[in-house]
Symmetry: C3
Subunit: 342 residues, 3 copies
């Protein structure tokens, strides 16, 4: 565990932080203010937890200068303790070993190009015309299909499938079960049956994107589906063909975007929210959980749909009335007219 073991003073120096208290204390992990012990680091970012600071048993706490007086132990001072905590915590993360080279059980086609510094895990399949760049790490059971590129330092955790014509940038992180580059859902109706529209585009994913477990991103019909850099997708998200997502946009679990929608930069899409096809969302639009976007949004801001949760019996009464809302509005107007006519 020696490589995951630092003194408070070493941590302060490494991240350019001021510290208070015992610089020689050794830290070998992280924990919450309530649970961390003397060899662990914790942090105070949300003032809601300020009361926990006074009682913490943590070895060192990352906090803002204003909270320093209340800290009963060593402290590292940072203007944004949550971001600083993120970087510190990464020191204590034990990633699985990823030895350079190709595991003997992997199947690499003759026409694939795999960097000597890449790591290809057990049972991976790298097909003809695929490229895996320097330092990329593929965990077990990944498939890299024809015309796909895994950019340098990217990591496919395990069982990731890149189907066809998918380009990942650098440092892209993809979680298990994700499927990228599957056929878009394109159909033409002919008299009495469906005819499939070939999906001839690809998917382009920018640097530093993260793609969650079991998320699906279809390839374009003619042009590409695109995620700009630093897009962050949680689990079980569905991105249809020819969607375009601007840089730094984040989506929570189970969100879905229909075909050819264009989402701006720095947007935040809530869990299980949906965006209909061909719409455009401006930069810095926030959609709350489970809302459905049915028209383009030109202005930054927060948008919602849905009705509040209620006890089922009360809800039933109100929901039944919803079916007559138009009638009520007309009756209300009629009453007002009567009242004014009097």
């Amino acid at each position: 565990m020696s490589e995951h073991n630092y003194t408070v003073a070493e941590l302060a120096e490494r991240f350019g932080l001021a510290f208070q208290g015992d610089g020689a204390r050794r830290i070998s992990g992280v924990g919450t203010l309530a649970s961390a012990g003397p060899d662990q680091l914790s942090f105070l970012s949300n003032s809601k937890y300020a009361a926990q600071l006074k009682a913490t048993r943590a070895g060192v706490v990352v906090l803002r200068e204003e909270n320093l007086a209340d800290c009963p132990t060593a402290a590292l001072v940072a203007p944004d303790p949550y971001v600083t905590y993120a970087r510190l915590a990464a020191l204590f993360e034990r990633l699985p070993a990823a030895p350079r080279g190709v595991h003997p059980s992997a199947v690499v086609a003759g026409g694939a190009k795999v960097s000597a510094s890449a790591s290809i895990g057990p049972h991976c399949v790298i097909e003809d015309g695929a490229v895996v760049e320097d330092g990329a790490v593929l965990g077990p059971h990944c498939i890299v299909g024809p015309g796909c590129v895994v950019g340098a330092q990217s990591r496919l955790v395990a069982r990731v499938t890149l189907v066809t014509r998918v380009t990942l940038g650098r440092r892209v992180l993809v979680h298990p079960g994700a499927v990228i580059g599957s056929d878009g859902f394109g159909l033409a109706f002919e008299r009495d049956h469906w005819v499939k529209i070939p999906q001839l585009g690809g998917v382009r994913i920018g640097d530093d994107c993260e793609i969650g477990a079991n998320t699906t991103i279809d390839r374009g019909a003619l042009e590409d589906t695109v995620l700009e850099e630093d897009v962050r997708l949680d689990n079980q998200i569905q991105i249809a063909h020819n969607v375009y997502i601007g840089a730094h946009t984040a989506m929570a679990g189970c969100a879905a975007v229909a075909g050819s929608a264009k989402i701006g930069r720095y947007c935040q899409i809530g869990g299980n929210a949906g965006v209909l096809g061909h719409l455009e969302l401006a930069d810095r639009v926030t959609i709350t959980a489970k809302s459905l976007v049915t028209h383009s949004i030109r202005e930054p801001g927060e948008y919602s749909s849905g009705v509040p949760l209620q006890d089922n019996r009360q809800w039933r009464k109100n929901a039944a009335r919803f079916k007559h809302l138009d009638e009520y509005a007309r009756r209300l107007s009629a009453l007002e007219k009567d009242s004014n006519d009097e």
Copy 2:
């Protein structure tokens, strides 16, 4: 690329179309009206894009006779350009090679029957009692469990799991991550804990169906879950046990159908829409995105639920009022009574 290279006259002859312009022009791919170059084919189906036709640089355009006069390049004339485009574009699709036979890394049980003309990709597992028929193609990492049949010319793109007692018809296309034939969710509650109901049925999927990435279709409790022919399911759809889906029905991403529901033919179920268990939907019912079907539908037509998206501050005010809608309706009626009594 010679096999993906045709003259305009060859395309016209192959599909029985009239053409106009330079029949000797060579076409080697497809593109949108806005992006296609002189060696590419494009199409005009939606009149919304008619303006793009006049400026297109495409080598040839598939269009209706009425648009012929506006076409600055060669044209192929078709009554339904989108359907014709679908067939033409298929000529230019490069599917991964699928050599006959079983990849040496695949595991095929002694009691499995695999046609000599089928292609079994790397790391596939074909279990005892499974059948793979003529010309079927299994990409890498597919699992065909006991009692499963992959029909002739069907294609499991990659990492598809057929669990138990699943029969696929002919020309079925299944995308990566799909799970077909998993246990239905059947539980009986006994005093203080759950008891699992064995799921002893199977799944039957008709000819020409398409199943999207990470879609799940459970097998039946006693009888089978059924998809008739030409059913088209997008990604991340959930089909519960004993659901029955009529021919030519299409469902968009993230739709879900609960146990024993029966969906008619030629239905269209929007993205993330849901159908509760044991309901019946007539033929030609359309459900819009994110709607929840809570009662059976006897008449063809379009059905919806949900409320519109609004700016969050406005929405909050309206949503809060929803909790009192029943009270408002009563107060409105009381006012009307007062007004009539006067």
Copy 3:
């Protein structure tokens, strides 16, 4: 099939039930009242199907004493026929053979501990520091990552991924495509880009839990994501980091729970319902399908949100009015005031 073949008298004795009719009749399978034949067992639990009892051709029917008089064939009498049926039907389930030992195509790291009585299927990958306990069965393509434990008699049907620090209790059943222990979705925003929060916790899953196909359960940021015993999750459910789910809670397909939410015991969460982050639900709370829980719930009971499905034209009119509900409520109050002032 001899091992799946019992006389009615043998079944009665095995489960301690009274029976009526021909005890020597041989039963080799199960079916519905409407479809079962003379060598099959059926059951009557829901009185809705009582009419089918009189016409059944089943060899034996499990039913309540009160229905005995209407049964035209042999009967097994049970106070809760559905639970008893569940146990009986399990006799007739043919699970795929699971030979002890490690399939030659599996990759087991030197530092993994696999019980000699466990079954490790084709192409499984068991990584360093993983443990597979007695009698556990891993179907094809399962991955057991570092620090993961598969408890005794647990079954990973096929293609299940346990990523990191996941502990499954005893008799846990996990369906294909499930991903357990993937990174929680934790991000800090720094000026103009996202910084990833390392996810250093794990997942603990209690005895007798069931996890559906393509369901995802993220590991905790610092502490663990927890499912107590006998939690039952259907397909495509998303459980975010640090969620805590009480024993015997069941969730239907496509439900989702956001980070750090705490769900009580004996809750039932409907299909595609959602629970926002950091909320608490008391024991015995039922949430109906597609509802969104936006506040903590302190009292047992049934809760709902949403509006009813309507014909699209009617729905459009009502939905448009929803945008003005707050205004209508004010106008209604004003009218009432006028009316009272008169």
